[in-house]
Symmetry: C2
Subunit: 266 residues, 2 copies
DNA sequence: TGAGAAACGAGAGCAGTGCTCTCGTTTGTC
DNA sequence: GACAAACGAGAGCACTGCTCTCGTTTCTCA
């Protein structure tokens, strides 16, 4: 597996692979390890280990249940039944249904994140359209294999639910891969940070520390939007009787996006 | 208000305005009047009238409640409380929660449908980029004013819920406006209906009776996807800390799409 | 006009949910 | 070994969608 190279100077903090060792990234990656979050109470004790195991079992049962019936049909009582414990016991591990859902959301973000990272890294760095295609196809495959998890993170948020800080680091993995790929070679020492477009994309402009032109960033966000628009329309049933072969059309659209954003050259 | 002209020959059955009187459209529009669906029992009787009124009141209360707490928090019992009736009485009007939801979905599709149709029709037919911009801005405004209704129809479908036939006619209104606008003047007497792309878009190719090239159709679907991708990313919170001014960026993206799909000319 | 049928509203009830509280037990720590 | 924290189990609360029954109202048709 070939790592995406780390352009610490040209694209600040946009590090695609976990092995990146620039200043800011380690903390970001560390924050993503949601699985290890519940193991903090008691270091190496027996109790801590069985707690971690049960926490994982609960999440596994929840994931299984969600894959069958969707996120909003997820029932804490059904999980406790499956695990043979009292219905009240689950609250020792997750304070509420929302907290379990948040853990599942983080896991889903990380799952699709590593999938996309690996797909991009499996194509030589020089072949940008190839990487883009691999990335997009991997994203779609993941979405189709995990429709309910896709809906959980990219569909309508459950009412009243506000994503906690914990999720944002994991949530950025896919767009970061996408942007870092699309913007390779598009960087400047000091891009124009003024203007309407730069204002509209202020968050992104600051994130990239002004090394990328607002126009290039805008193209990247547009691509991001079309990618998820295609997937959402397909997965949520809006291609019925219209786009008869979504896979073939998806590849066509991805190639068209690649030509538009990356240019026609390899 | 200026009607979009009806190109019965060039774009078969893609009629943008309700006043269209081609062969196939009247039945389509008729099927969209979900409001009148429950009035069929008893023509002009008193009972039928109060039934229609109560049905409308239930839907109004449901819409109000959904606007506050989202679709999955919608409670039949809360509606009956608000209306001062027994909890069981609501089942005389809607056989299940899903049936109420379906009615709300149809209404939402029609609501956004007329909004977009009117916006497109408010710009002279010759100004295609202007129409596209008006259409897109109206679509976004509607989405922002009705976020929960947007999520209801374009977000993740509720688990186990399958859209009944009733919804598809209403659901096609927005894409039909979009496609008919994008494809004006792009028609041919007999476009190539073969090839991979035509196969992938078989449903659309058949719908347009082969008068539009698969390439043009693909561009239209891509635009559709980017439009809804932009809105979904924004409304579902994925632009947080990234696209700081979503409205401004949306307009930029729409103009970029218009230039790409409609060409740079007016 | 009056009888029968259909539609209706209200209430009780069932099975399910998220969540809380209490109580006795187990485990870890000083 | 004492004490506290963590834990599992159970009962219980308020809520949900939905069903069934029963008495009343309304419509229809002879």
């Amino acid at each position: 597996m070939i790592d995406l190279e780390h352009k610490s100077k040209s694209i600040a903090h946009i590090c695609v692979v976990r092995s990146c060792n620039c200043l800011d990234c380690p903390s970001r990656w560390a924050a993503m390890a949601s699985t290890e979050r519940n193991e903090s109470a008691g270091a190496g004790g027996v109790r801590a280990r069985v707690r971690a195991e049960l926490t994982a079992e609960i999440k596994a049962a929840a994931t299984r249940q969600m894959a069958e019936s969707g996120a909003s049909a997820l029932s804490l009582r059904a999980i406790t039944r499956e695990l043979g414990m009292a219905s009240s016991a689950i609250y020792r591990y997750f304070a509420s249904r929302d907290e379990l859902l948040t853990a599942l959301i983080i896991d889903a973000y990380n799952d699709v994140g590593v999938t996309v990272e690996n797909a991009a890294a499996s194509v030589p760095a020089g072949d940008r359209p190839g990487r883009f295609l691999a990335l997009a196809v991997a994203l779609r495959s993941w979405a189709i294999e995990h429709p309910n998890q896709y809906a959980l993170i990219y569909g309508s948020p459950v009412p009243g639910y506000v994503a906690p800080e914990d999720t944002i680091a994991s949530a950025t993995r896919v767009p970061v891969v996408l942007l870092s790929l699309l913007l390779e070679g598009e960087t400047e020492d000091s891009a124009d940070q003024e203007g309407e477009l730069a204002d509209a994309l202020r968050g992104l402009v600051d994130f990239t520390e002004g090394t990328i032109s607002p126009d290039a960033l805008a193209l990247g966000v547009e691509t991001w939007a079309e990618l998820f628009g295609l997937l959402s329309l397909e997965l949520f049933g809006h291609f019925e009787n219209t786009v008869t072969d979504p896979e073939r059309f998806f590849i066509h659209a991805v190639e068209s996006m690649a030509a538009r954003v990356l240019g026609d050259d390899g």
